[in-house]
Subunit: 289 residues, 2 copies
Amino acid sequence: MDLWFTEKQLPTVGLSCRVVRTLEVRQTAYQHLAVLETEPWGRMLVLDGMIQLTVADEFVYHEMLAHVPLVAHGQARRVLVVGGGDGGTVREVLRHPEVEEVVLAEIDPEVVEVCQRHFPETAACLDDPRVRLAIGDGIAHVAEHPDTYDVILVDSTEPVGKAVGLFGESFYASCRQALRPGGLMVAQTESPFYNPQLIARCHVAMRQAFGNARLYLAPVPTYPSGLWSFMAASLGPDPSVPAGEAGGTPSGLRYYSREVHRAAFVLPPFVHALLQGEREPAVTGEGLG
Amino acid sequence: MDLWFTEKQLPTVGLSCRVVRTLEVRQTAYQHLAVLETEPWGRMLVLDGMIQLTVADEFVYHEMLAHVPLVAHGQARRVLVVGGGDGGTVREVLRHPEVEEVVLAEIDPEVVEVCQRHFPETAACLDDPRVRLAIGDGIAHVAEHPDTYDVILVDSTEPVGKAVGLFGESFYASCRQALRPGGLMVAQTESPFYNPQLIARCHVAMRQAFGNARLYLAPVPTYPSGLWSFMAASLGPDPSVPAGEAGGTPSGLRYYSREVHRAAFVLPPFVHALLQGEREPAVTGEGLG
């Protein structure tokens, strides 16, 4: 059987890949969930039709979401991951010996359960004694934990359904309250090519909540357009500057390095322009947001 | 009619987009050529089924191919573009007032003719008095012009058919002979995610020809994987360092800046590894090369 999966990245753009077999296809209480064994990229997690991770390229996204704020902070002890039930972000956080506790606030327990069976590369770390699962609404969790975390990582799905609230000023303000002095937050904020309006809005919202917001970029082939953005805000350290000594930085990584960290914050002029709301509409039919 | 175009980026991966209408579809003496009006990306040039440019994102590729070596050189007077019959690279070269002549060595006159009708954004510049069209084999042109150019830009199609010879040591050695003292060459070298073996081979070949070779990266959404590579070799200036003063650098660009120039040479560890032949095969079924 010649089986293909297609994600409609925009109404007029599709990314397709060959599927060896379907390992899970189900409706959870929150979303449609599928695990596919694909030929180009290995196993793939799909939520509501959108690729969340593939074994081939998840390292870029997870390393850049976790290590940029953790290395900029330099001594984070308590870390919160909002979303990210696949465990990939937690795995990267655990590479930092200074981290004493990682809380994973994932709303959908079936994502965690399915990933523990099908994605040991990312989810095996959830058994680590430093990890605490907090199954439930991440927005409520943040609101209920003032002055608790050194770093908050928003590893969300696209801004549809339950995840919409993770892309707004009230959530960012709540994150600010949940951070301890000198803390940082980072949120994934979609593609500069396909979601410029969303990024511009998040930038305004995060600046209103924190007084600062910095965007950085990394390539993720299976995400729409292949270029992904992350937005960082801080109560102290400059997110673009690796703290401490090189020796204290996790080694053996495949995308992150201290040099990549700094370079990821160097934005091309068209991205500077979209942050200032000066976008010319290059791609017709902006996607989500 | 619901018309879609799909490029098989790998045997197991397709990128598709909605087509408003087909403007040209023909077989030339060298390749299959199509011009499509697409909904997401505007007009698109397709050669042998592979996207060469779209109006929406060609700026990244053309700016990074041209300005990195031209700014690193700082005083290039004669520039050769091999391939690139769409004119996009020539357009960027012409932004440098120090350039006195740009020779475009394009093998397929129909590419030039079609682009002059359908892509004024890139091809209108070919009427500039500083541009000289040299329709014919770029490999022969380089071999016949020793000690002639300050910068050579290899704006080739994928390494299939006539373009295979543009990806090997004998062509690079010929380019070295065609450069004047202090000259640089840059070639497009495909995707680090999908073509690691090709990049590793080109790196060895360019180092053998020049004694040096430096890779740099930029995101191009409509190219396979969304991340593209360029390889630079030099008879003098460090390709990663912008020469001269910021005031002498072309302004009004959308991707290139002097800061982006430096940052593009900061390679993630997995790319360093593939340049050393230490690639772990992440994506199954490497494409071309």
